[in-house]
Structure formats: structure tokens, C-alpha cells
Amino acid sequence: MQSWRRKSLWLALSASWLLLSFLGIFPLLRLAVPPRSRPGVPQGWPRWLDADLLQSFSQPGELLEDAPQPPQAPHGGSCNWGACFDTSKCRGDGLKVFVYPEAGPISETHRRILASLEGSRYHTFSPAEACLLLLLIPDTSTSECSSVPLQWNRGRNHLVLGLHPATCLRTFQLGQAMVAEASPTVDIFRPGFDVALPLLPKAHPLRGGASGQLRQHSPDPGVALLALAEERGGWRTAGTNSSACPWDGRCEQDPGPEQTHSRETLPNATFCLIPGHLPDASHFLQALQAGCIPVLLSPRWELPFSEVIDWTKAAIVADERLRLQVLAALQEMPPARVLALRQQTQFLWDAYFSSVEKVIHTTLEIIQDRVSGASARPSLLWNSPPGALLALPTFSRSLHDFPFYHLQQGSCPEGRFSALIWVGAPGQPPLKLIQAVAGSQHCAQILVLWSSERPLPSTWPETAVPLAVIEGHRKVSDRFFPYSTIGTDAVLSLDAQSSLSTSEVDFAFVVWQSFPERMVGFLTWSHFWDKARGSWGYTAERANEFSMVLTTAAFYHRYYHTLFTHALPKALRTLADEAPTCVDVLMNFLVAAVTKLPPIKVPYGKQHQEAAPLPPEVPGRGPELQPATQDCINQLAAGFGHMPLVSSRLRLDPVLFKDPVSVQRKKYRSLEKP
């Protein structure tokens, strides 16, 4: 009985306990620890049970069967490119610009700008055939704007360009005209229609201009982190340790690393803080030139050429309200980003801002790009060296065709070249040269440019590669005309008197493939500054350095023909035609201005130098050139606005060149013949 009772007791107990645990513990547990919201895991947007039953935001028919409606007319007042610009006049080659001549007394700079525009490739004298009519606003801020010109036509296809802030722009009856003005405020700026210009200092050079201040890629270890633009116009640098102080001027307790600079000096710091008010826009260019990364705090003005320039690559536009965060971000910015931003500031300065001429040409190129529509320049062309002014979209839309973008595109230059042999006055077909060049495994074609009075010879030597003859106009600059028959990227420019061996051609071409944007040549000249005369000179004397290679035997990219013919001011090409040796200098100037690098010299066999000296009419053989030809380099330097040539002290030889090893091992053994 005892055991029974105990048994039943135990049974009841356990049963009730079981029940308890079933009924009680789980709900209790659930209450205590809600299993479905664990701490730390955010409660997301719910997964609806009936999510699959939801209807689409639009019915299938609705997207397609919009009620048709006639096109909207543009709202009055505001203009955009499609509505207010007539591109029908802009067919043909390149943008044609008519510039209104000066009316009344104008300043000297204004006159020079007009002159420079007239010499440019854009200019046309007839307003009827012009695509764009340019009205230059004088930089006198006090006077009234000139009255509406004759062909105004409600401002259609007009660009009103004011390099300096002009008050009269506000009162001007713009109509449908576009406005290009310095640092326009974001409220009045019409993206895609107006053009934002940089706020240039009064004494900005017209042409050439000072190059960027950056001398090295990475920041100097000792340089200050920040420079703050001051309202008075100068710069104040601050060390890395002062955190909030550059913002509010409460820096009295930490005066150590601070320095105030006068108005003129450029900031020497890694970052340049520029507050957002309009007057501070002038600091922007200063920072750019100095290679100081501009940090713009909520700028109320539009960044210059923002339509095409990707400013995120060269500047930091931050919200001025998040100052501390910006400061922390600058301090922690990875070195790679700093490196890239610094270099980009310099590239942009040199490409678009260093002179008034560049600023105006950039403005016109932006409009040209709008007109071209589909064949406008890709963004890469604007935002990587050498920049859009030197990368003509008329040459090709494909980046692979240019010499500059192979790395970015992961492509490589073509493995063949075209030899372009210029036959000048003597008119002797260069048979030996043709054979030597045609013997190269890389040669794709030979073009003979016949510029002689003599009649064309009827027979040409049999060659393994096609040979074509072009009849030139007996002008020296013809040598650099972009003939459509040139079918390869690489051009080997030769003179009938040149003497080369197949080995030399082969090796030089292989070197060119590594440096497709440079000139690779055999014979060199070097330039120097003649202190006595106070001018530039150049010499053919053999020296330890050189800065030019002769185009009588040189490899270069065919794009330079296009650039030579279409981008150079006409005056410079005429100069080259008048003094034939000048054409070599001009070509070297051009390539150096684009690449900012010296040309490359490859070995040139001694046997040629003795056997076939360069033609006597090419000066430079003598120790010192005639003053008349010396003048060419000075005129060119004036035309370019600066001296672009860069000197090099090296020559690229084959790896085993003249090494004490069996000649049999050497690939270019005939280069070493005594």
C-alpha cells in the first residue's frame, strides 16, 4: 500500500511536472528570452508571407501604353542645350567660331586674347558660317556692357564669355545665349549649357604660363598637412597635430606650427582648405598650381569646367558642416589617394588652367564636344594626361589609336610600322634605304613622299612589303601631314639621304613599342640657354645630353601627324616651311609639349656617320648653327609660351650591347660593327 501510494504520488508528481514544463516553461522562456529578436541583430524589413502575391507597381500595359502627348515646349526663361542651341550650322570639320571684333577702347589683354583667337584653328571671319558666335565681355567691371551686337538673333548660338567677374552680365539681355563666366554661383549656373570658368588672377599669362609647382610625386615628409585660405588672400599653414583649430581661428594656444603667408606665395602643404564663399574661389587655382590638394567646403560656386573635368580625382568637395570628420578623413587618407590627387592637380593645371589661351580653348572644346554628341571625347581623354586640348577627337574615337592610353586600356601598340621616306630636292630614289627598311620584320609598308621637282621614277625596287608613292606639295611641313595611307600606329620618318641598317630599324622599333608616346631617334640635337645672347640656342655637337632627335630618322606615333597639322597654330607651321631645319625643332617641341618627357636615343652605327653624312643643307653638322636658324628655336619658344624641351642623359642600347660575350649570342649584332 505504502509503495502503491508512493508510486502514485511519484507518478502524479512527475506527470504534473511534465505538464508544467510543457505548459509553463516554454511560454515563460519565450517571455524571458524572446527567441526571435536576439540582441545585436537589427530587425530588418519583414519578409511578408504574402510577398509573392503583391502586385507590380505598374501593370504590363501601363508602361507601354502611355497616352501620347505632343512634345513639351521648353519653359520660358531657362535654356538647355537641346532647346537653345542650333547645331545644324556646325557640320563639317571642327567648331567654327566667329569672334565679335572689339568695339570701342579695350584693354591690352583683351586685344591679345582676340588676336590669339584669330590665330587659332577655330576662327572664322564670317558670322554666317560660324557655329558659335563669341562675345567677349571686357574685363572692366565698371563700364557698361557693350550693346547687343548685330547678329545677335536673340542670343542663339552665342557664347558670352567673361574671364573676370563682370557686373554687367547680370543686367545683360541674355536671351538664348550661353554664359561662360568665372566661378558662377550654383544657383544661376545651368549645367550642360553654361560653362564655368576658373577665377583667373588679373595678371594671368596669355600663353604657355608657369608650369605646376610640383617637383616630386609624393609629399615632402616635412611639409604641413593643411593650409587654410585666409580671407585677406594669403594662406595659413597648420601642422598635423592641431585638430579643430584651423577652422575657427582659436589657435592661440598652439601657435607653433602655424605660419601666415602673404598673398602672393603659394601654399606649401598637402591639403588646402578653401571655404565655400565666392571670394575664396581665387584660392582654388593657387592651390592647384602649387600641387596642394584643394579641399572645398560646400562651395557655392561651380567648379571650373565641371562638365568635363572629374574633380573628384583632384580635389575634395566636402560638407562644411562635417568639419571634424573631414579633418579626420584627411589625416587618415591613404598615401595612394594623396599621391593620385596631388598628381592630378598638376596635370589639370598644366592642361587647362595655366594660361588664358588654354582656358578659352578648353571652353571652345567643351562646346565642340557638345556639338559632336556621340563622337565627343570620352571622359578619360579629359581626365588623364596629356588632356583634351592635346587629344583631338577628330583623330579617332577609339582610345587604342592614341599613343597615351595603352596602359589604362590594357592594350599595346601595334607590332608593325610604316616607313615614310621624304625625297627632297635632289630627287634620287633612296634604293639602298628602301631595301634596308623593307628588310625589317616589323615593316608593314613603305611610303615615299616625293617632294622633288624631278619627275617620278617609273620603276621602284621590288620589296617584300607594299610600296606607295605620295606626291607632296614641296613644303617641308608636308612630311607631317596625316596621310590616310599610313596604316599603322608607328611611323618611321626618313629622309632620302638617311642611312640605316635593318638591325637598327628593328631595335629602334622594339624600343618604340615600349614608349609609344615618345620619339625614338638616332641622331640628336640639344638645346641650351645662351646667357650671352639671353636667348635659346641649339647645337648638333655630340654631348653628354640631348633634347631633340632628328626626324630624318625617327620613330613616332602617327597621331603626331594629326596634331602637327591640325593643332599647331598656323604661324608656327609657316615658320617651319620657311626655315626647313626648323621643322625638326618644331616636331620635337610638339612632342615634348605633349609628353613633357625627353625623346629617346638609340645607337646609331658609326659606319653611317662616316659613309653618309647627313645632307649638307641640313645645318647642325657644323659646331654652331647659324644665328638665323637659331632664331627658329626662340620664335617657337615664344609661340609655345615656354620651352617644352626636356634633356635626357641616356641612350637605350640592346641588353648585350658591346658586352664581352660571343657576338653569336647577340640579337642585334650588326649594331656593333666597327
Binding site: 537589427p42 530587425q43 530588418g44 501601363e62 508602361l63 568637395v317 556621340a374 654631348a543 653628354n544 648585350l656
Partner: protein, 825 residues
Amino acid sequence: MFTLPEKESRAPTTCPGSASIQDLGSSYGDGLEEECSRKPDQKLLELYGVGDPIAMFFSDSSYLSSRGRIIKWFWDSAEEGYRTYHMDEYDEDKNPCECEEEAVGVIMCASVKYNIRGPALIPRMKTKHRIYYITLFSVVLLGLIATGMFQFWPHSIESSNDWNVEKHSIRDVPVVRLPADSPIPERGDLSCRMHTCFDVYRCGFNPKNKIKVYIYSLKKYVDDFGVPVSNTISREYNELLTAISDSDYYTDDINRACLFVPSIDVLNQNTLHIKETAQALAQLSRWDRGTNHLLFNMLPGGPPDYNTALDVPRDRALLAGGGFSTWTYRQGYDVSIPVYSPLSAEVDLPEKGPGSRRYFLLSSQMALHPEYREDLEALQAKHGESVLVLDKCTNLSEGVLSVRKRCHKHQVFDYPQVLQEATFCVVLRGARLGQAALSDVLQAGCVPVIIADSYILPFSEVLDWKRASVVVPEEKMSDAYSILQSIPQRQIEEMQRQAQWFWEAYFQSIKAIALATLQIINDRIYPYAAISYEEWNDPPAVKWGSVSNPLFLPLIPPQSQGFTAIVLTYDRVESLFRVITEVSKVPSLSKLLVVWNNQNKNPPEDSLWPKIRVPLKVVRTAENKLSNRFFPYDEIETEAVLAIDDDIIMLTSDELQFGYEVWREFPDRLVGYPGRLHLWDHEMSKWKYESEWTNEVSMVLTGAAFYHKYFNYLYTYKMPGDIKNWVDAHMNCEDIAMNFLVANITGKAVIKVTPRKKFKCPECTAIDGLSLDQTHMVERSECINKFASVFGTMPLKVVEHRADPVLYKDDFPEKLKSFPNIGSL
């Protein structure tokens, strides 16, 4: 010496820089110069101290070129997987009671307690009872465990997402009644900009430069009469909110949020009551004039005038809208988004590469304004077969989905498949500027021809539409054909590729649209961490193939800066002093740094060091590692660094000075003296290291090389994969690793300077033995193969040139040459 066979010439299409593939037979020859490998005794000494006190693992590696980066990504994800795996294990060890069987665990604990109390009771029972009770309890216990398991097991099978989220039906969402007189927000403010209308302070404390987005919970809004103001939520808007909720942007903490997304669905203006929707917006808990609120709308406006932006008054709220015109779009504030095409999810188009297609120009839109249709048909009449203008089908039998069919005369075409047959596809404005057809066209890899004046293209703030589309002004429609024909074929193919890529990345799904929108807003708030143009626009193939040189600016640094020589030494003091003396004669030397890699021995006393004209600093390292030579020491103040071994005693001052001059002309390259080559071994199908007299070079040894100091930083912190540790562990190949790193990031070849010569141990002959030399070569070959696999590619470039002074070996008076003493053995 024996005559060598002519090497196979490379195919003319090969880049000069591409990997060299050569016959190995030619490379064994007269060992005119032995590679003086590390002496065996030194090697033994170097072998202790494998470890890395200063090695820091930086997981982010944006400094590699993209190829490296992708490899890095694989590496990272592999490591992450590994870490998670171990974390799992760790969890199991530590807290078994906190896992799924939590409840069971508690019960078990309770029963154990009972058992503990047991002994007090049990002795009073009889033995058989005891057995009975024990059995009983074990049965109960088992039953409980089983129940517990049953209760909890199924949940652990479900995905963790569902585990966290409550399942509800949309019909159950709370209903909110909007009184007729509840406030309405102001109309949108057209002058809003980020710095005027956006409260950026709310985003101030977000870590990792990422905005935090809060989503309001779903409510059903009804007006005074109980009529719903809109569909509660559409499928797409639900997808959109889910995508945001699953992303890194999401936060459920309304107080930390920087951006608020209402759950009120305004994707299609046709489906909602404007006034009441506005009232619903205004009563949101953090509305505050709409500050920092983001609305998504794809179909704005309504008949008859079809506004190009959402008509719902929204005050300062940001609008992500499809179909903005230049007049309604607030540049830098609103975001222009695509109109999602539901066909994207329905139809799986077969892959079709770029190239020319059957039709040159195709129009597939059904509801076109008659004027436009006339223009298009005129084009068709003029250009015949190559232009196809499709229309609605009128003669379809019942049950056929008319949305998926298009007709031309009596010919029926499948839509969107027919788009794949055309090179260019017209996307004309309808009543609205934004057209879902754009998405279909891109998906088909057809280049859109956009004819909609003043239309703001989707994501135009970041996407470069010039690369993927042609915009034709409406009045130029009749010229469209000739405009398109002027585009070269190569460019068309690039545009087709680009169009397809835009669709894949930004149009494909609602999720893609939502995340791109948030990324754009994020980049505005944290511009210093913004995504670059290339990352937005370059298709993966381009990203993979392109190289962005970190030192891209053509610049010749001034000579006056000079260079810093870094001598890595272990204990060969005598040889070290000779090197120091030699190097100090170089005019451009500005500082000399000795990296003392021997922890067991102190460097010689100050007085014993050679007296030189430039500062000399000795850095003692914590461990004997080869990577110490590439550490970015603060002492390095110049950009140029000369790395030199302590046994390179044969380099003349002229050679070193010339090397520095060459570096100035090529500051982004390794400029070194001993050159080496990598070759493809066809028999073994792997890379082989070559130190013979070859006509080519692809590497220079860093036993004597100039380079930019930035590469020290890259080597130490951004070396991909485990290469750095591998080098330190093997005590070899740090120079090959440096060559790989620099070639990979710059895409450029090395420059070998001056002729081949002996650089060290003039007395060194072939006594070292062939076997040692061969093991050395095998090790070096292994390094190349290892590094090539980590980089995922062979970055080294082969060139056939070296740099010599202009007048080297020229017939010219020696005393007039700048660098006469070059190449003397």
C-alpha cells in the same frame, strides 16, 4: 662557347612588354658570370628568426591594380571563410547552453539539480523502487529532450534571415486613419541642395563612411471614409525595401539614422491619392519638413500634362525619380533612377556578344506619338531593310500576351528578343521622359538612341552615358540614321558592351537600383571615400585589364634632391664598410641608411664606421627578415631609394650616379644593375628563372637598384596574398617580389642600367659548385611560379633594351664624357 640557335621570334602581335615565351634550349651556355648566390653559411645564420613583429595585415588593398585586387579579394574571402569556420568551433566550445537547445539545457540543469537532491530521498526507498524511479525519470527526461528537440529543431534548418524576421501577412499591417485636415507638406523646394536642405549632422557619427538608413514600418493609410489612399505596397517597393534592409546601410535605430525611407509606396503616381499620400508623409515620426527623407518614384506625373517629377508635395525630401527633366531635377540633390522593367526578371535573354546585327536601327515602343512614328517610318522608307519600326499587334489571337509581341505589317516578333537583332534601338519619350524600354534595350546589348529632349538619364551623376548611348535631339530625328552611321564599328562594339554592363550593374534588379541610389547619396556625404568614375563605369573586363600607374604624372624630379642608400647587412662588416665608402663617393647621395639585421650582434661602435660626407644612420631590426630592406623608414626623406647589398663592392661612383640620373627619367620604374629574365618552360609548363646572358630583361635585382620610396610602402603594407610572409619564411626572392609588385601596379618594365659586369666578389669563381647554383635557380623559379599564381597573372614585362650614357663606347674623348667609368670589370 658554342653557337646558339636563333631564338624563335615572337609573333608580331605580342606586346614588347608581354611575357616572354622562349625556347629553353638556348639558355644553357657559357657561364660567363655565375650568379653569386647567398653563401651557405650566411643562409644558415639567416634561417633563424622566422616571424614578423612589424608585419601588419592590411585587408584593404586598393593600391594593387585591379587584377591584384581581385586576387586579393579571393584571398580575403578565403580567409574570412576560415575565420568564420573557427568562430563556429569556438562558439560550440564555449557556451553550449546558449545554442539552439537553450531550453533543453535549462531543463537538463534542473533535472540534474533534482538528481543531486536525490540521494537524500533515495536511500529510504527500496532498491527495486529506486531502479523504477530512475527508469521513470530517465524516460521523462528523454521525452522532454525529444520534445525540446522537436520544438526547436526545424527552426535551425531555416535560413538565419528568416530566423530574425517575423512572418506576417501584409493584410495584418496596422491601419492609420488620416483626418482630412491633417497637415500637407510644402511643395518640393526647387532650390534645395545638399548643403541647404540636407541635415548632414545626422550622418556625422556613422562609422566606416557609410550612411545609415532607417525604414519606417509598414502601415496602411486610409482617409476619413476608410478608403485606402494607395496600394499598401507594390512588389517592387517591397523588394526595394528588402534590399535596403539587407544592405550595410540599414539600421533599425531611428536615432542613429542619417537617411529615412518611408514605407509609403510612391513608385507609381497613378496608384495613389496625391493629397492623402502627402498627409501620410507629413505625419511620419521624423518627417521634419522631409529633411533626410528619400522617396523612390519611377512613374511621375499623370494626365494630361505629365509632370516630370512626383506631384506629391514633399517639401525637402530627396527624390529618386525616373523621368526627371532638366527643369525638375535638382542637380546634386535628387537622384535620377531608371524605370524598372518587370521584363528583366521574367525574360532570360541568351547571351549575345557585341558585333553587327541584322537591323541597324530598331524601334520597338508601342505607344508613340503619331508625329514620331511618322518620322520613324520615313526613316524606314528611306533606308529599307536596315531600319525596323515595330508596333502593337492588332491581329493576335486571344490569350497571347500582347506585351511580349511586336508586329511590323503582318510579321510578328517576340519582344524583347527582337532587340537582340538590332545594333541601335530607339528609346523615344512617351508622355513621360523615362521609359522602361531603356532597360530592355540595354539588356539586349542594343545601343540606346535616346530621343527625349531635356531628359536626365538614369544615374547621370555618376554614369557616363556617352559611352553607352547616343542622344539625338528630337528635332534631329530625321538625321538619326546618318548620325549613327558616322560612328565607327569599333566604337559601336564598345558601346554595346558598355550598355550590357550598365544593365547588369545598375538596371537588372530593383536591388541594383536601390543600392546604386544609396551609393550616390553616400558618396555625396563622404566625398573623400567616394567611388571613382572608373569603378562606376568600367566593365569588369576593362577593370581587370587596365593598369593605373600610381606615379602617372610625367615628371623628372630635381637632381638636387638626391637619393637615400639603404644597405641591408647581417654581419659582414668589412664588406659593408667598403660598400659605404664606395657609395659615399656618389655626388647625389644625400643619406645612407644601414639596416642592421643581426639581433645577436651589435653594430660596430660609432668610431669604427667610415667617415663620410652625408648622414649615416643605423637601423637595428627586431628580427632578421629580408623584408626589412623594404620597410618605409621615416629616415628616408628623398623620393629615390637605392637598395644595395653589403657585398656589392664593384659598382663605381659613375655607375651609381648614372643610375640615379636614369631613375630621374623613369621615376616610376625599378632601375637596377644586374638584370634577370623569366621564361616559360614549355616542357614543365611553368615559369623559369634565368640569369644567363640573354638579349632580354624582365627583372632587376634589388641588390643594387633605384626605385621610388612609395614602393617601400606598397611592399610593406599592400603586398598581395601571403607573398611577404612567404619571402620572410624562405629568406629568398624579396627582389623578385618587388619586381612583381612594381610591374603589376605600373604596368611597365624595369630599366637595366649599364653593361653586364661582376658586382661582387671579384675572386668569386665557379668553385661554389654547380649543385648550389642549381638549387638556387630552382628556388628562384619556384618563387616566380608562386608569385605569378598569387598575382593571378604574370605582370613582368620583357624588354630588349638597357640604359647607357649617351656617349657610352662612342668614339669620343673619355675625359669629356660625363660618366666615363662605366662597365669596367
